[in-house]
Symmetry: C2
Subunit: 175 residues, 2 copies
């Protein structure tokens, strides 16, 4: 599919997943897409762990406790390192966000669905640290997000968005 | 081009640009790609201003003072609003980063090159505020980044990156 088509088809999928496994070669392609994203001053602050081993997935599911992830046959966990681009200026949030967006597009291209799950990982339940412990992640990395990966069981839906001319203009604000 | 091909071909281009104008319909497609990115809790915190009017571009170039942007026939400015996803939790950096990544891919798909220029906008020279003033951007929006858009004059180059197995693993850190 063309980039523009995939960009417009991608949406945050919160339904269940088919039982179909995700082949390792697809998980590698998805992670390669993530690592191909730019990073501030080429610091490459983003790292990734794909989980498809049923035993490890079971351990993660116990801490994730999210309905819509329980059935995903694979999960990609996103790690970030707080390495400054220069002086005390950090771009690692931008870096992992660009990597996640690349992966979400690659996931759709390969016939799967996903959802950027970050809030519940870093904020409310602080489950990122528990997930990091299960995966043996060192303290200088933070697990900030995970992406379920699998074939969607239900139809995808697109959220309502503001019209183009309320968010994009030419040559001046609101023009 | 397929998503994976574009993702791997995209790189940060810092050379000059051909004189060829970028048609408005292409700038619209690029901005549509940006706005199609997900946003935390669908807050749609990212807005965009494409600049292709030579007079406005000239004003921007005077504050940008960046060699590799001076010749670009168009520039897309990225605005963000600090709107919380919920409580006091903000995802607007993630939101605009995902939008930028979508636009960078759309730019390559359409035959142009670009570069994510953020550090010099927000940090060192604080030119984002000056650019915002030129474009009439209200105070509740911050101009955080711009993307030059045009046909590359020089060949693109890819930065050296760490090998896959130093940044991506299966079922546990370093595995």
């Amino acid at each position: 599919m063309s980039v523009l088509k995939v960009i417009n088809e991608r949406t945050s999928y919160r339904g269940g997943y088919e039982n179909t496994p995700v082949p390792k070669e697809d998980l590698i392609k998805i992670m390669e897409a993530g690592l191909a994203a730019p990073s501030g001053c080429n610091t490459q602050t983003t790292s990734l762990i794909a989980v498809d081993d049923p035993e490890v997935l079971d351990k993660l599911r116990k801490v994730i406790e999210s309905e819509f992830v329980i059935s995903a046959p694979a999960v990609i966990c996103v790690l970030t390192q707080a390495i400054p681009g220069y002086a005390d200026v950090y771009f690692n949030v931008q870096d992992y966000s660009a990597a996640i967006q690349n992966m979400l597009l690659a996931i759709v291209e390969l016939g799967y669905e996903s959802c950027w799950v970050e809030g519940q990982v870093t904020d409310v339940h602080k489950i990122g640290k528990q997930m990091a412990n299960i995966l043996g992640v060192p303290d200088n990395y933070e697990l900030v997000c995970f992406l379920p990966v699998g074939v969607a069981y239900s139809p995808t839906r697109h959220p309502k968005k503001k019209p183009f001319n309320e968010r994009a203009w030419f040559n001046g604000f609101g023009l």
